[in-house]
Symmetry: D2
Subunit: 144 residues, 4 copies
């Protein structure tokens, strides 16, 4: 199974007075790409919520490499770089389709909780979800 | 009782590539002013939620009179212009403190529902909240 | 020529603590739809900027009919309802693809200025742009 | 000279469907605190722009420690942790006034360019700005 990169055109309201897209939007695009990724591997946010699984953000980081402009189309790739049934880490690369250049890389780290905020060990609580993440992590390490 | 106008400095991330504050922020400032107003008349959003009263937006309108710039301070006045225990209408005027000019006027119209979305008649369901709105509406019509 | 409606999936970060999409996003989606519309009729924002034509918002209005949820796809139709070479008015209707219902209608009214903010009469300053808008307005009144 | 921490109440539109403030707002609050800090040390964004100095973000990182709720007041401290006339790094700590707990820590790293994007060495181009940052960095290392 091969993932499709997430594509996303920038909006006028995302620009700032420097004339470029404001940096605070990138972490929102990462969320959009993550939602799309989870859907592609069969674990939509809405399914997760029905299972009462929440995945709050623990930390994030972002490297801003090239300014992005209004109406540029950004293609975002996402990989699971760590997973151990208590935490998951995603890595993102963003390519500006107009220039072909990487404009941003980033990562987000999440834990798992119930909707009420109690910590979850996925392996015990939701073995199928755990298996899906593990399989995808293995796919990363041993690309077919 | 006299209300204090709500004051609010504009942020860099609220500007757009025209170099001015993007128009989509005004409706957010109206919400900030409304939250502040409700607190001042003793009906905070959080109190309302504890009473399981929600006040979803039915309609809004906005007249954009003067561009607003980064780091300007906007002073927002708010009045209850209609209230009948099923709907409430607020009117807003925004003055740019830097220029002394009105930069925007607007209105929002809200109905009342339970948190689950069932319509509420405030007079029956929450007579105290109803009285507070009525009193404030009367204050508008017959300023002391 | 027939316009394609603008389609747009809602994002997680657009929701609020009521569990629905926050109303302040609708005016942003109207902008997205307008940008797309202008592109479709051959007048992209970027072309307009190269001609040094700006179209600041004068007023807006919005009727919120049905709550919209995370991951819903909204289809937005847009029409030119008034145009006189000094001002233009757009009307928007938004249909939630999940339910088939109209969730929101709205309008925005714009004037025309140079990038520096001086008023423009499009008929004189940019007859081609003027003709494009007029043609599109006529298309609305006399649909072929 | 002692800096005042930046205080900021959270807004309803900053919450998400989990019922807490969406993580994407923290990087915006860091910008607000930075703007306030620069003003306090006599280097407002607007002064910087008049000197044609821009300070684009190079990287950022954020650790999300505790969820923040609607209407909480967040107090943000900011320190210059590195500066060498080509780059500057700020560190942020955010305390939720309601709970007294640190809810978030973060950092941002910026370079200096002209408004047109050409790299700047502040020591050469703007010795006074350079001196201000150096002094403040020294203040950090040798608190009086």
């Amino acid at each position: 199974m091969e993932l499709k990169r997430y594509e996303r055109r920038t909006h006028y309201y995302e620009t700032d007075k420097l004339g470029i897209v404001h940096h605070s939007n990138y972490i929102r695009w990462m969320e959009e790409a993550r939602v799309d990724f989870l859907k592609q591997i069969g674990l939509s946010y809405i399914d997760m919520e029905e299972r009462n699984v929440s995945s709050p953000l623990v930390s994030s980081a972002c490297q801003y490499k090239k300014a992005v402009h209004f109406d540029d189309v950004i293609s975002i790739g996402i990989r699971v770089t760590q997973y151990n049934s208590v935490k998951i880490m995603f890595h993102y690369d963003m390519i500006n389709q107009r220039t072909g250049e990487i404009c941003c890389t980033g990562m987000t780290e999440h834990c798992f909780t119930t909707g009420e905020g109690r910590p979850l060990i996925l392996k015990k609580a939701h073995p199928q979800v755990d298996a899906a993440f593990r399989e995808w992590l293995e796919d990363q390490e041993n690309p077919r």
